[in-house]
Every structure is written in structure tokens, then in C-alpha cells.
């Protein structure tokens, strides 16, 4: 692959995913409204699509305020981390045969590494704001994300066992005959729940929990700094959806009447829709329930899944 091709792929992935993230502002509001028997934003432009532009313009022109009591540089650093880490995570997602930014042989580990760096945005943002609600949100976010990172990593190991590779292109290729959702249903469920907790989306939006903590870790943020958290959340949803599709739903694989990229994005959008559906339908658990649920239910379950997968893989080989 030439350097120019590489640059084009990087730019293409950036363009597509930043646009998806921005478009999700509209998609989420419309879908949430539909599920609540409302119509949602439908005034600005065709189908209300220009609400995305309006929201972006609004965020750009808001006063970019840094509180005098905040730790200035850490305060500025925090929103950059969330977007940067998620975009880095997107680098290893194979969209179609050959269309991948970095075809690393430790791709899955890289994804886990980047999602674990995402914790810093919450922790530092909450701490630098020097506000008690932000700090509480940051504490909750840190413990939640560290806990669920463990299950996320462990739930993916079953997939690694079956495909015998950390490389995502190989993992997709290994699903040629059978998607891993069939062989790894428990892994899929746990990965999805952990992904929900990692992106701190509802129902696991405990770090921001607006009814308890104002807006949690980003209470003090305004303007485009808040916009970064906002867009980072949507990018996180897209990333987790894309990873779910890649790891469990055969990535770009699908009947030949549509090109592979289209299959990939169709599947991804289904999962983005499920993310939004969960926001529309499920209530937020209490903080200790979430952590207890993780350590007491998901951890034994994921270890059991790993054990059974390994045993069956060994049995099949012998």
C-alpha cells in the first residue's frame, strides 16, 4: 500500500466517523423522541437535519470559560483525551478487506489500551474542575471504567481463543463460516455491557447522572470543551458498535449483493440504534449495584465462559 493510499484511508476514516458522531446528535434526538411518542427536531432543514449544524455552531460560539478555581492545563487536556483515545481506537477497525488504518498484529490489545486511556478524560476533567460534584463524578467514573475494563478484556479473550489471533482482520476472516455471536453469546453480552459502561452511556451514565450530580465530571465545561466530551461520547458509541460488529457479527461479511463496507456500516448502525434504545428504555442503576453487578456476576460469568471456550477448543482439536 502506498503512502498516499494510507493517507486517504486515514482521512476517510476520520471524515466518516466524525460525521457519524455529529450526525448521531440528530439520530439520537429523533429516535429518543420517536420512542417517547414525540417527533423530535424536525424544523431546521430537511427532516431537521440542520440541527447538527445549529448545535455545532452554538457550541462554537458559546463562551469558552475556564473557572478561576480550576487547574487550567489539566482542565484543557481532559476533553482532548476522550476524543483522541477513541479516534486512536478506531485506527484498528477493519471496515472492509484492505480498508484499515493500522493492521496491527496486536490490534485487539491496542483497542483495549486506548479504551483504558479514555478513563483519564473523566478522572482529570472531574479533578481539574475543582468542584465537588465533578469530583464525585470522576471518582465514580474511574472505578466504573476500571472495573468494566477487566470484563471487557476478558470477554474478548474467548474470541481470541477461537480465532487464534489478536489481529482484527484475522478475527473477521475467522468468522467466514460462523459468526462468533453463535459460539460466544456470553462473551458478546458481557462485551456489550462493558462497552456501555466504558462509554458511560445510559443506563450506566453514573459519572454524569444529571439527577444526582448536575452533569458529573463535565459540570464546569462549556463551549467546545464540552463539545469534545459530547462528540467523544458519540464517537465512543460508534467505536463500541463497530467493535461489536467486527468481533461478534462478522464485520464486513455478508451476502454479496451489497459491498462489504455497506454491510459493515449497516450492522454498526443497528448497534448504535440499540445503544440509543437502551437509553430510551432502561433506568440508571445505583452506583453500588453497578459495581457489585460487575464483580459478583459478570466476572465469574466471563471466567466461566473463558474456561468453557478453552475446554471446547481443546476438545475439538484433539
Amino acid at each position: 500500500m502506498t503512502v498516499m493510499q494510507h493517507i486517504w484511508i486515514v482521512l476517510g476514516v476520520l471524515f466518516v466517523f466524525l460525521n457519524i458522531a455529529a450526525g448521531l446528535i440528530w439520530v439520537e434526538r429523533r429516535l429518543l423522541a420517536m420512542w417517547q411518542d414525540r417527533l423530535g427536531p424536525n424544523r431546521a432543514g430537511p427532516l431537521g437535519l440542520f440541527i447538527v449544524l445549529a448545535d455545532t455552531l452554538k457550541l462554537f460560539f458559546k463562551e469558552d470559560w475556564i473557572p478561576p478555581f480550576a487547574d487550567k492545563w489539566v482542565f484543557i487536556l481532559a476533553p482532548a483525551i476522550v476524543v483522541a483515545s477513541v479516534l486512536m481506537g478506531l485506527a484498528i477497525v477493519p471496515f472492509a478487506p484492505g480498508i484499515v488504518v493500522a493492521d496491527l498484529n496486536v490490534g485487539l490489545m491496542f483497542f483495549l489500551a486506548m479504551s483504558s486511556l479514555g478513563v483519564y478524560s473523566i478522572v482529570l476533567g472531574g479533578w481539574a474542575s475543582n468542584n465537588k460534584y465533578s469530583l464525585l463524578g470522576a471518582l465514580r467514573g474511574a472505578s466504573q471504567m476500571i472495573a468494566y475494563e477487566v470484563f471487557m478484556g476478558l470477554s474478548l479473550m474467548g474470541v481470541v481463543m477461537l480465532s487464534k489471533s489478536f489481529n482484527l482482520t484475522d478475527i473477521v476472516a475467522a468468522q467466514e463460516n460462523m459468526w462468533f455471536i453463535v459460539t460466544q453469546p456470553v462473551g458478546f453480552v458481557i462485551f456489550f455491557i462493558a462497552g456501555l459502561a466504558e462509554t458511560h452511556r445510559l443506563p450506566f451514565d453514573i459519572p454524569e447522572a444529571e439527577s444526582e450530580l448536575i452533569a458529573g465530571f463535565h459540570s464546569e465545561y462549556s463551549g467546545m470543551k464540552f463539545g469534545m466530551f459530547f462528540i467523544g461520547e458519540y464517537l465512543g458509541i460508534s467505536l463500541i458498535s463497530a467493535m461489536t460488529v467486527t468481533l461478534f457479527f462478522g464485520g464486513w461479511l455478508g451476502p454479496a449483493f451489497l459491498p462489504p463496507v455497506v454491510w459493515f456500516f449497516l450492522k454498526t448502525f443497528v448497534f448504535i440504534g440499540i445503544f440509543i434504545l437502551m437509553r430510551a428504555s432502561l433506568p440508571r442503576p445505583r452506583y453500588d449495584q453497578l459495581i457489585g453487578y460487575g464483580w459478583k456476576l459478570l466476572l465469574p460469568l466471563v471466567l466461566l465462559n473463558l474456561l468453557v471456550t478453552g475446554a471446547i477448543a481443546l476438545w475439538l482439536r484433539s
Binding site: 429516535l31 420517536m34 420512542w35 411518542d37 417527533l39 440499540i274 434504545l277 430510551a280 428504555s281 432502561l282
Partner: protein, 171 residues
């Protein structure tokens, strides 16, 4: 787990339900006739002002948004010299309508009163007076009042007794 999936399915079904949103500027809201909206001053069937400047509405108003000054014509008919309602204060509680003895002040089903300047929300008498009898057609306070204000003479009203002749000793 099953209950969560069931919840999600039930919420998903709502995608195909009828929406409750009324797309306002194109479709109008059906307002009931007793809706408490913009305040108006109504007129008699013969076109005179109903308001007699009794100040009861101003007294009843919990937010003190009504200001008026009563005065009289040569015939002895009272009317407000000015009548001012500050709609940026008004809470549309309808107490003024309840207090009004002459059915002059009425709340009508209209809420489209947005203005760009706050000062424009202060309505004067010219803005408030409408050329209509409002909810009580045919009612004229001076027809049932015992006062001669140019509408009818004293004692000429329906079911009204003749005025007592204080100079006579007859019962």
C-alpha cells in the same frame, strides 16, 4: 435480564405508534372555550364600555399587574380613564375575571402574545378593548343596575321596583 429485554422491546414498539406532537404553527392547538389566555375588555351590546372602574380586578390580582383609574361621564356613567395590564407580570390566574361585577374583563383562548421587547407586553386600554360582548352576549350592566347612566331611567329595568319617592308619605 428478560425483563430488561422486554422493556426494550416495548419501548421499540413505540416507534410505530401515533405521535402525540402537534406541529404547532401549521396545526393549531384545540383550546377549550374556557382557556385562560389573553385578557380583554368587552363591550355592551350597544357598544359602550362594560368596565365601571370598580378596582375589584386590580385588588384581586395576586401579582398586581392591573392598573386603572376610574372616571365618570357627565351622565354619571363610570369608565376607566386608563386601564393597563402588564402581561409580563400576569400569571393568567383568572381572578380578575371572577372578581369583575360587570363581566367586563375576560380571559380568552389566545396565548400567542410573544414580543421582542418587554415594554411591548404592557397593554393599554386601546389594546385591551375588543369590539365584542365576549362570553355573555346581550348582557348590559346598566340594564340591571339601579342607576340612570343614559342607558335606562331609574326604575325602568326588568323586575326593578320604582324608586322610593322620599317626599311622599304613602307606602
Amino acid at each position: 435480564m428478560i425483563s430488561h429485554l422486554r422493556t426494550m422491546w416495548l419501548v421499540f414498539i413505540h416507534l410505530f405508534k401515533k405521535k402525540v406532537t402537534i406541529e404547532y404553527p401549521e396545526k393549531r392547538v384545540e383550546l377549550p372555550p374556557r382557556w385562560r389566555g389573553r385578557i380583554v375588555l368587552t363591550k355592551d351590546p350597544d357598544g359602550g364600555e362594560r368596565c365601571v372602574g370598580c378596582y375589584l380586578c386590580a385588588a384581586a390580582c395576586p401579582v398586581d399587574c392591573i392598573a386603572l383609574q376610574a372616571t365618570e361621564t357627565e351622565e354619571g356613567r363610570r369608565y376607566p380613564e386608563f386601564f393597563r395590564i402588564n402581561f409580563s407580570r400576569c400569571i393568567f390566574c383568572g381572578y380578575c375575571e371572577e372578581a369583575c361585577p360587570t363581566y367586563a374583563i375576560q380571559l380568552i383562548p389566545d396565548f400567542e402574545m410573544a414580543e421582542y421587547k418587554r415594554q411591548d407586553l404592557v397593554y393599554e386600554k386601546e389594546d385591551l378593548l375588543i369590539n365584542s360582548q365576549g362570553k355573555y352576549p346581550g348582557y348590559n350592566f346598566y340594564n340591571v343596575a339601579g342607576l340612570d347612566a343614559g342607558v335606562k331611567e331609574k326604575g325602568k329595568g326588568k323586575d326593578e321596583e320604582k324608586p322610593v319617592d322620599v317626599k311622599s308619605l304613602l307606602p
